[in-house]
């Protein structure tokens, strides 16, 4: 997906940028009105961070789907299926099955024991300050990689859809996206952000449903005929689209890479801080359960749509045309929309894709700001001696700081591999967060030392392995001689291992470190605290209540 910004000079502009801008402008206008209306009741920290815990399960489930179905899901998976066939499908399965971990082991227990952030749960019966610090750093690391991916995607995608070329102009686009996102989060808090996600999720799923029906109708609602269309269009070797192995089957190393990716995907979701934080926006654990059930249905059905859309793009647009188009692989879904419904459908789908990025970025920003203000500033720096409105003020300042960082990062990351950055965020979440979440919920003996070993071990090992992997340096396209790594200078090569996704090593390592760290420390877990956590997690006694206005 490095081809995101690869402009083909002789390619004609597809669609009308003016129509695209107009439709996107309408979306921004509507959501801004909603955000301003939603923000009128933002009084307390619970309002700002957790939307007063007043959303219903179905509303929150839709917002979760809005948060989760990022540009990588929509554009990335459609493109991957169109080009690589079955191997693209594997992503969606990992992304979906992962939700069972969240549903069965994490969502309700977390809602019952926490307040605003993941660290609330992790530090519940352990030493507050060191655990909050570690959990917050892990949160910021995950959010950073995720944010970078979305901003890089936003710059490239939107620039293409609006017909803006040149790095400087794209930088302006990224800055506009960033500024809009800051405005949403600053004004609307969690409530405004949630409404943006709900609106976006409905638009995205509805748009995908219409396109799916359209594609299937062209093939007499016979999926096998659609597959035949994709095989025929791909020409020689088109049969390979129907089975696995086209992308990941090349060498034993690429097979290991796939295994590593599969592990990171399935265990990453339940450790993603922006997903976990959404469970606090509902009044009870039962509503948290309903949220996840709704989210699983919406996300699952959406991924079934992308299966049709991906093969549909392959059949109706063709892999060659997709690869040659500006935006490369990521342009499969917009090109299919243009093929089906011309300028208007392209503009609609493009606006939805733009909205997707905006909503996900807003969700990530509020998570990072909450984590910094609530865990690092209020608990670690101020020792909890701070009024809640002071904490919210810090959160708002953090939103602006993160927004500016994301804009700068996005401008630098512009053109980098979006899928890699998202998978990286999943690997960090699965290594640094998930083991400690599970241990602290289910293992009585677990203590502070184990948590720190597991979180720092998972986080640092991830960062180190990625730095010395071919993703950062030393991966060269054998046919063209171009660099496929983040460092574009092929003479710089400090990669030491060939594994591209660190999950296969770091996730088991973090689980083991949690056990080792626990037994190396003499610290005993407090029976009172464990009783409180266990009873609260299963019964909801003493859990944070909804804010009544």
């Amino acid at each position: 997906m490095n081809t995101l910004l690869r402009f083909a000079d002789d390619t004609e502009q597809i669609g009308e940028p003016a129509v695209n801008i107009a439709i996107f402008g309408i979306f921004v206008l509507i959501t801004l009105v909603v955000v301003f209306r939603a923000s009128r009741n933002n009084k307390t920290a619970a309002d700002y961070y957790a939307a007063g815990r007043s959303f219903t399960g179905p509303q929150n489930g839709t917002a979760i789907a809005g948060d989760y179905l990022s540009a990588a899901s929509f554009l990335g998976i459609c493109g991957a299926i169109a080009i690589n066939g079955y191997d693209g499908f594997l992503y969606s399965i990992g992304f979906l099955v992962a939700w069972l971990v969240a549903l069965l082991l994490v969502a309700e227990l977390l809602r019952n024991t926490g307040k605003f952030t993941m660290a609330d749960v992790l530090s519940f019966r352990l030493k507050q300050r060191p655990v909050r610090m570690a959990a917050s750093l892990a949160t910021l690391a995950v959010v950073f990689f995720y944010l970078l991916a979305q901003m890089a995607g936003a710059g490239g995608l939107v620039a293409l859809l609006l017909g803006i070329e040149g790095t400087a102009a794209q930088g302006v686009v990224i800055a506009v996206v960033g500024a809009l996102m800051i405005l949403y989060v600053l004004v609307g808090g969690m409530k405004g952000t949630t409404w943006v996600q709900i609106i976006k999720a409905v638009l995205l799923i509805f748009g995908a449903a219409v396109m799916t029906a359209w594609v299937l109708a062209k093939y007499g609602f016979n999926f096998s005929d659609l597959l035949q269309g994709a095989v025929d269009k791909a020409g020689d070797g088109g049969e390979a689209l129907l089975g696995p192995g086209k992308q990941y089957g090349a060498t034993s190393m690429s097979q290991l890479n796939f295994l590593s990716l599969a592990l990171a995907l399935v265990l990453g979701t339940a450790g993603l801080p922006h997903v976990l934080m959404r469970f606090y926006t509902v009044p009870t654990a039962k509503e948290a359960r309903r949220s996840v059930v709704w989210a699983i249905w919406l996300i699952g059905i959406f991924y079934l749509f992308t299966l049709v859309l991906g093969y549909g793009a392959g059949a109706l647009v063709g892999p060659e045309a997709i690869k040659a188009a500006p935006g490369g692989v990521n342009s499969a879904a917009p090109l299919l929309a243009y093929e089906l419904g011309g300028t208007i459908l392209l503009a609609l789908i493009s606006a939805v894709a733009f909205a997707t990025i905006l909503a996900v970025v807003a969700g990530l920003t509020i998570t990072a700001a909450t984590s910094f203000a609530h865990d690092i500033y209020a608990s670690v720096i101020k020792h909890g001696q701070i009024r809640p409105d002071g904490e919210v003020r810090v959160a708002r300042i953090t939103v602006v700081a993160i927004g500016i960082l994301a804009i700068i990062g996005g401008i630098f990351a512009n053109g980098q591999n979006v899928a890699f950055l998202v998978a990286l965020a999943f690997a960090v979440a699965a290594s640094a967060n998930l083991p400690t979440i599970l241990y602290s919920l289910f293992w009585k003996r677990f203590n502070t030392s184990g948590a720190l070993w597991s979180m720092y071990g998972g986080l640092i090992s991830c960062l180190v392995l990625i730095t010395f992997s071919p993703v950062v340096s030393g991966k060269v396209d054998p046919t063209t001689g171009d660099s496929l790594s983040m460092i574009k200078d092929t003479s710089v090569d400090f990669h030491l291992i060939s594994l591209e996704n660190p999950g296969l090593i770091t996730i088991p390592l973090a689980f083991v470190l949690g056990i080792v760290g626990t037994y190396l420390s003499k610290e005993k877990s407090s029976p009172e605290k464990y009783a409180e956590m266990e009873v609260r997690s299963l019964t909801g006694a003493g859990s944070e209540k909804a804010v009544a206005h």
Partner: protein, 118 residues
Amino acid sequence: MTDTADGFETDYQRVQRSDEFQALKKRFRNFVFPMTALFLIWYFVYVLLADYAHDFMSTKVWGNITVGLLFGLGQFASTFIITMVYARWANNKQDAVAERLRLHIEEGTVDGGAGEVA
């Protein structure tokens, strides 16, 4: 179960010790742990087949529908089924018990205990 030698016990510990809570916890763990093992094993069987058994997964069953596609759709089906089974089970078997225990604690009416929640 809980060390009560110092003669002081919180309401949470009292509830934790109760048969009703222990049964709730046991039912919960007996449901979610095997279910988690089941879907993870099924997922990794699928991943390993897709990763290493290309010929088998590319076998056509009907038209262009391959074994791999059916396995993949099977992952969707199993995810939806487990979700609904869990939600129905939790709604019917767990919620009422959890709610009763929660009210006991929040109203300070835990059997044999003072109302104070530590």
